[in-house]
Amino acid sequence: MASLTLRRLSKQFAEADAVRSISLEVHSGEFFSILGPSGCGKTTLLRLVAGFESPSGGSILLDGNDITDVPAQHRGIAMVFQNYALFPHMTVFQNVAFGLETHHVPAAEIRKRVGEALDAVHLAEKAQVKVPKLSGGEQQRVAVARALVVRPALLLFDEPLSNLDVALRLTTREEIRSLQRATGITTLYVTHDQAEAMSLSHRIAVMRSGAIEQVGTPEEAYESPASAFVARFLGAANILRGHIRGGVFRSGKIAARIHARQAASGNGAALIAIRPEAIELNVRRAGGSRAGVVREREYLGFTTSFTVEFQGAVLRVSAPSSPSTRAMVAGTRVGVSIDWSRCSVITEDE
């Protein structure tokens, strides 16, 4: 178990700055995710930590020791690759044993530890199978076992679930989560899937164009996004552009009194992010709600999603499916009430 510290880490490629002066602290035993769209530099950041790329500037510390110039094979950091990178010419056992063999662990202990690791990922009976004969999900678990068995100081994941189908992705996610919680190995996890990051992580960092936009617990990032980008990336968000004066936010015809906590940044131009589930629609206009018109309705099973025209703005609204949501077909006039206490003010511009 170790903590990871990045100090003003940066990486320039010929074409672009992939990572721009990132400073970060991952605590010992923490599951930390880096979340961002493709091309934001998150994989480069991971590869810098793994030692596959050397940084253009800054330093990497593992438990306070500078490892910036330590070659990858001497870092004691294990990685689970996006395509698993299992050695196709070896059996499951040989793959998992690979890291132990390089560290000259005695054969008897290798057998014991590989056995335990394969048990942990429910693949004990496949030990002698050649890797190409495994299914995608099984390969993924071998990759996890291969990384866990060396008891790394730090475990890296590079979008490990992106090659799995949806159902398998959910169960594997649960397995990774419980394995990490059981072993307590400090983990750095890279993904573009916000649900994945939020379900697995103690903390997440949202990355954009080589820089970190926000670091926090999943709740903090979701409930109080630091930027419109973070708000949009972590689930759908309605972003209204307007200004705040005297504790009142105005955007077009919409005006609302917002909490002192939210308006801490004072007066001036501001963006406000409203989550689709913070808006309620009523077939009959209840007290305090204003009129809107349903433009589109999208049935998603558990929830139903609406596009609603409201006071000159177009809002996305999400509600648990029910007889009343079924009644709100396109063109229905509905009452719209926004829970302003759940909205967040973003002062930083896009």
Partner: protein
């Protein structure tokens, strides 16, 4: 300088030394010699080449170029046809026949030429059979002169087209053709608009290789040209006449033409020599062919392949013919094992065989070391950044005609230099494997580069991530995965080396004569049986190497399953 740095730089230094000393330096020497008339700097020899009063040299260039163009057309027709038949149609014995189709690649050029001479030549088996069959006063046809050369070239080089186009057709996504059909496109339109663009790089690549090989061809003109001039023959005769400066100028001319085509080969996407790397589904059908057309095409292919095996069968037959018993008959009258017994009984007669095996092994050994480390350095190692330049340097010598390589060796190593270990190499045993090495190691480079390119980088990173150092990564991860590529490159190198003739004829001494030279001298004294026995032995040696290579690959495969 740390030990680590030395370990990284040492292979690079060796590689640079090899390329400089054995590829570039001989060429530079040749260039400098070609620019000297009676010891002074002059372009006189080049002016001689262009002299309108003595058209011999330009005639030779013209003959070589036109034969090469015809060879490309003929090889292309045969190779593309066979590629279509073998990828698009199913028929009995397809697997066996597809092996027969690549047989010419294992046939040393000289052996192929002699076999053709026996079958189709002026007093060959087929012309005489036809004469006897129809009771004609003379043979109704026979192959000699330019048509003979073109046919022999087509036989030797169609394999380029066959392999390249087969690969392209197999990689062609069948759904593209289905999509075209789905959009209402006719067969011909689909072929012209969808299939042809996909196989064009393969066609360009094979054409360039065939053209280069035909320009450099020596054995076919040597035995079939009659009085006609060809550029490779010109260089050989000029050298025999002792005019090294003019020979060098002629060689520079041939080199220029070859390099121009090498450049176009590199520019085309089909430039990778990917022998032995048939991946993907081999059963993809892209063209629906009707019953009759199918039968006609398959029959045509079978007839072609039979014509292709005929020379080999003939060589085997003649190797058992009693010397002097084959004069005016269709087939030799008497048979004996004497030709073989003689080979094994007399150590001096057996010497060429020993020489060729030794030189072959030396060539493969050197190619293995230089080729694999070069390939590794440019794809994954220290030279990755300078890849373009080194890619070119590493494969450059493949584009140099054998005659030119040999002449360069003579001019460079007829005096002690650093690169020759401060001795004179001309006239020694060592200059032959050195020339073979220079000509053939690019085959190992290419096949290893291809194997390394299909190797996923993340496997190497995974190795690093789990603590494996450079050496262990190479031994445990990379080597088992690229071994098939290395082996196929080495096999081609071995085949080329043991049957080498073009460079050898300029470089050999009696004690260092390889099999091919001995075959030729037996042929010149009309010992057809002995010449054939040597040829058969050479073929068996090559078959042995093929078997050995498949054994190595299979043993490796038992440990390394191909990726699903």
């Amino acid at each position: 300088m740390t030990l680590r740095r030395i370990a990284v730089l040492a292979p690079v230094a060796v590689l640079v030394f090899v390329i400089t000393g054995y590829v570039l330096y001989p060429l530079a020497m040749m260039c400098s010699v070609s620019l000297r008339v009676h010891g002074t700097l002059s372009v006189g020899h080049y002016l001689d080449l262009l002299d309108p009063g003595h058209t011999g040299n330009m005639e030779a260039v013209w003959n070589s170029v036109s034969v090469s163009i015809l060879s490309v057309a003929a090889s292309g027709a045969v190779g593309v046809f066979l590629a279509f038949v073998f990828t698009q149609l199913d028929f009995p014995l397809k697997r066996l026949l597809s092996r027969v189709a690549i047989l010419p690649i294992a046939l040393p050029p000289l052996v192929g030429v002699i076999a053709f001479l026996f079958v189709f030549g002026d007093s060959g088996i087929l012309p005489r059979s036809a004469q006897w069959l129809f009771g004609l006063p003379r043979a109704p046809f026979s192959l000699n002169g330019i048509p003979a050369i073109v046919v022999v070239h087509a036989y030797s080089f169609y394999v380029y087209f066959y392999l390249f186009v087969s690969t392209a057709l197999r990689q062609l996504d069948a759904s593209l053709v289905e999509a075209a059909a789905n959009l209402g496109s006719s067969h011909w339109r689909t072929f012209a608009r969808v299939v042809l663009p996909e196989i064009r790089p393969a066609l360009v690549g094979a054409s360039a290789l065939t053209f280069m090989a035909s320009m450099a061809s020596f054995s076919a003109p040597f035995l079939f040209a009659g009085g006609r001039r060809f550029i490779t023959l010109q260089i050989y005769t000029t050298k025999l006449n002792g005019d090294m400066n003019l020979a060098a100028a002629q060689a520079m001319l041939l080199l220029a033409v070859s390099l121009a085509f090498f450049a176009s080969l590199n520019a085309s996407a089909g430039s990778r020599l990917t022998f032995g790397r048939s991946k993907g589904a081999s059963g993809t059908r892209t063209l629906a062919v009707s019953g009759t057309a199918r039968t006609a095409m398959v029959s045509g292919a079978v007839v072609l392949l039979c014509l292709g095996i005929l020379p080999i069968i003939t060589i085997v037959l003649i190797s058992f013919a009693r010397e002097g018993s084959w004069t005016s008959q269709i087939l030799p009258a008497e048979y004996t094992a004497e030709n073989y017994l003689k080979l094994f009984a007399d150590p001096d007669v057996f010497q060429p065989f020993v020489n060729s095996v030794e030189m072959g092994m030396l060539t493969v050994g050197a190619s293995l070391v230089v080729g694999v480390s070069g390939a590794y350095l440019v794809t994954k190692g220290a030279l990755k950044r300078a890849r373009g330049a080194f890619d070119l340097l590493l494969t450059l010598s493949y584009a140099i005609p054998g005659t030119v390589v040999a002449l360069g060796m003579i001019l460079a190593f007829n005096r002690p230099t650093l690169f020759s270990g401060f001795t004179v190499l001309v006239g020694t045993f060592w200059i032959l494997p050195l020339a073979y090495f220079v000509r053939e190691y690019p085959l190992v480079v290419r096949s290893t580069v291809a194997a390394l390119e299909s190797l996923d980088d993340s496997l190497i990173e995974a190795g690093k991530s789990f603590g494996a150092g450079t050496f262990r990564r190479f031994r445990v991860i990379i080597l088992p995965l690229i071994l098939p590529g290395i082996v196929s490159g080495c096999l081609l190198t071995m085949i080329a080396a043991v049957g080498e003739f073009v460079s050898s004829i300029l470089l050999y001494a009696y004690s260092s004569r390889p099999i091919s030279i001995e075959i030729l001298s037996q042929l010149r004294t009309f010992n057809f049986g002995t010449a054939s026995a040597y040829s058969v032995l050479l073929l068996l040696l090559i078959l042995g190497c093929v078997y050995l290579a498949s054994l190595i690959t299979r043993r490796n495969e038992a440990r390394v399953p191909s990726r699903a």
